[in-house]
């Protein structure tokens, strides 16, 4: 029993990270109908920004909650700026062309960021400093949880609540919902759609960066290609929950994380070797597309032709 609880804790930890990244995918899709493939790389940039900040400001030497908070917020701000810049200089100029053009631009952007970072920092994995005093707590029996895992749960929940507040209780949130409903009409109603889109990218990127710093805190190894797999899994999570649907992204992330871990833990008993953990996420994607294309929480809207 404690093994099961332990596996669940492990799974939900990664799941929370997937959820944070999936939120960015889903928001951008909701507004632009664009899969922003560079999103996983923003998660990586967030981790690197945290790495540089923590070392430059000297938080790496002495773990403290203050240092961790500054690093987290700083890297979220940097990633938000980067997200806005990518939207402004890469996506906005091609937005008037077909969806396919933007999609291909996004793939190019993703590769560009990855190899720019390989060029600057080399592909050598870097060790992320310990920013929080790491301690283990026993839940019950043999099931343990560490400070970095607790911080992942607490911070991702706080960020999701904040996001929910922004979207449903602020003016800009209302504008976001309007743009996502219909971009052209929103524009005609006097909403500054360029600003709203920019803001969405900033929001999504900040969440991904938070995911990056939290993961790096948990698994202290960062490298320029770390965003590829996490990005893809988060994308699957977004599709699973129903792309464009915010609670769906969170649910999808948690489900994928848990499914993956349980496959490693118990797959052996039903003949699935632990090596298939990555395949599971994609098997889920295919099943969802076959059985319920709109995702778990997505509404089945008839496409206007």
């Amino acid at each position: 029993m404690d093994t099961f609880v332990q596996q669940l804790v492990n799974g939900l930890t990664i799941g929370s990270i997937y959820a944070l990244i999936a939120l960015g995918y889903t928001m951008v899709y909701g507004i632009l109908r664009l899969i922003n493939f560079a999103h996983g790389d923003i998660y990586m940039v967030g981790a690197y920004a945290g790495f540089i900040l923590a070392n430059a400001l000297g938080f790496a030497a002495s773990p403290s909650i203050f240092g961790f908070a500054i690093t987290l917020l700083g890297s979220m701000a940097i990633a938000a700026a980067l997200g806005m810049a990518i939207e402004r200089f890469a996506y906005r100029p091609v937005r008037k062309f077909s969806k396919m053009t933007t999609l291909i631009t996004a793939i190019g952007m993703s590769l560009f960021i990855e190899y720019l970072f390989v060029f600057i920092f080399s592909g050598t994995p870097k060790a992320f400093p310990q920013l929080l005093p790491n301690e283990g707590y026993t839940l019950f029996g043999n099931a343990k949880i560490s400070t970095s895992q607790i911080s992942i749960f607490v911070i991702s929940i706080l960020l999701m609540i904040a996001l929910q507040y922004i979207i449903f209780y602020t003016k800009v949130g209302k504008a976001m919902r309007a743009v996502s409903y219909n971009l052209t009409s929103a524009k005609l109603m006097g909403i500054n759609t360029d600003f709203v889109i920019s803001f969405t990218f900033a929001l999504g990127s900040a969440l991904a960066a938070a995911g990056g710093v939290l993961t790096a805190q948990y698994n202290p190894k960062i490298d320029p290609l770390m965003g590829i797999m996490y990005g893809l899994k988060a994308f699957v999570a977004a599709v699973l929950g129903g792309i464009g649907n915010i609670p769906g992204a969170v649910l999808g992330g948690l489900l994928i994380g848990a499914a993956e871990t349980l496959v490693v833990g118990y797959g052996g008993y039903i003949g699935i070797p632990s090596t298939y953990r990555d395949a599971v996420a994609f098997a889920i994607l295919i099943l969802v597309l076959l059985i319920r294309p709109a995702g778990l929480l997505g509404s089945n809207v008839q496409e206007k032709v």
Partner: protein, 423 residues
């Protein structure tokens, strides 16, 4: 007009390529006259980039020393380095470039066995000798007679750790967490299991991960229930550091065992104090007081401002073995050079005396090192000799001659080091 220029250009380039082919074919000295070009490839920007960096440094140091002493038969050695980013596909590309474009007379590399395995057929086909400094998977030199190595191989390395676990640590049960994407790790897993079982131990669970994975808690949690005495993690440093950290977070305090893939300065930053208790099998110990080792350590430290890991030491040895072979072959004719390399016997290297056996593998003892994360170094624990090789009575200090031939002359045991070891 344009077309004429194009035609002339094409003809000229064709002629020049013929010229090169001829040179390669007749196998005289290299085109540049007073330098000998040696290709080196390795990973300096990928996931195992500290391996490539150490290898490059080790070879550079050896070449500098050889050139400062007048070169090989009056010719300077020149290193042409190519980065393969740690992927087998790139390794194949860069070795083709080194051989076909740069016309190197020999190639030194790679560290990771999967990359060496991808590149070796290219060297074999072009009949250019390739010496791998540190790929330990047995399949590497099975590619052909132009491929050799200066390190021991995994059947021996895996059995060393199994012996250490069973005899020194008195372990009865072990768990294995292997890297499913590397030939190196798969080989070690297999040979550790064979030997450990033979010594009366039991492998209670085997789990795998893939390189670049970030989270290992699921596999570790599964192991925790079965309470193994030791955990064998035959992977590369990038993942091992995290595995150690996550194992300790789960309250697993068993000794972790590993191989030479752990040997990197980055390991300490990733794993920190979690890397204790832990032991690895390795090629040499920088603590060894033998003067040739200490001289190497000092020279390396002075040049690169970092302590040499075993990969640097092996790379240094591979370069010295190559230079020695060129001297014995009396030139760089590829067939003669290959024969000279394969006939290497009792070569006094930093990592021990190097003798290549019939399968072009070096037969050498291994050392077991204990990790000391507080000082970020590996402490010497014990030396384990291959079957049939008797420990020398004195240290290898200052024996440049062949005073100990009797100990190594009849050892074909490397690939079968674990066949007759029930004692």
């Amino acid at each position: 007009m344009k077309r004429i220029f194009l035609t002339i250009g094409l003809i000229v380039s064709m002629l020049s390529s013929f010229a090169c082919v001829q040179k390669g074919g007749t196998g005289t000295t290299t085109s540049t006259g007073d330098t000998i070009k040696v290709g080196v490839y390795g990973d300096t920007t990928g996931a195992t980039s500290s391996f490539g960096q150490s290898t490059k440094n080790g070879i550079q140091l050896a070449f500098d020393e050889i050139n400062a002493a007048g070169g090989v038969d009056g010719k300077k050695l020149e290193m042409l380095f190519e980065d393969d980013q740690g992927t087998p596909e790139k390794a194949k590309t860069v070795i083709s470039k080194l051989i076909n474009q740069d016309k190197v007379i020999a190639v030194l590399g790679e560290v990771a066995s999967s990359n060496s395995l991808a590149a070796a057929p290219v060297a074999q086909e072009a009949k250019v000798p390739m010496i791998s400094p540190s790929s330990t998977n047995p399949k590497v030199t099975e590619v052909g007679d132009y491929i050799s190595r200066v390190c021991f191989i995994d059947p021996f390395q895996g059995s060393v750790m199994a012996k250490f676990a069973a005899n020194t640590l008195k372990a009865k049960t072990a768990a294995i967490l292997g890297d499913n994407s590397s030939d190196y790790s798969k080989g070690l897993t297999q040979f550790f299991e064979q030997e450990f079982t033979k010594l009366g131990g039991k492998i209670i669970t085997k789990q795998t991960y893939a390189q670049k994975d970030q989270d290992f808690k699921a596999q570790l949690t599964q192991m925790r229930d079965q309470k193994p005495d030791v955990i064998y993690v035959p992977g590369y440093y990038g993942e091992v550091g995290i595995i150690a950290k996550q194992a300790r977070e789960l309250g697993m305090n068993q000794p972790l065992l590993g191989g030479d893939g752990w040997d990197s300065p980055e390991l300490w930053k990733l794993g920190g104090v979690s890397l204790k208790p832990a032991y690895i099998s390795n090629h040499y110990s920088a603590d060894n007081p033998a003067p040739e080792i200490q001289n190497f350590v000092k020279a390396y430290q002075a040049k690169f401002n970092v302590a040499p890991d075993s990969l640097a030491a092996l790379a240094y040895d591979s370069a010295k073995v190559l230079a020695d072979a060129i001297k014995r072959a009396g030139g760089t004719d590829s067939a003669k050079l290959k024969d000279a390399i394969n006939a290497t016997k009792e070569f006094p290297g930093v990592t021990g005396k190097i003798t290549l056996d019939g399968s072009r593998n070096a037969v050498k003892p291994a050392v077991v090192l204990e990790l000391n994360p507080e000082a970020s170094k590996f402490d010497f624990k014990e030396t384990i000799y291959p079957e049939g090789m008797t420990p020398p009575t004195t240290t290898t200090a200052a024996t440049n001659g062949n005073t100990t031939t009797n100990t190594v002359s009849n050892t074909n045991t490397n690939s079968t080091a674990n066949t007759n070891s029930t004692k």
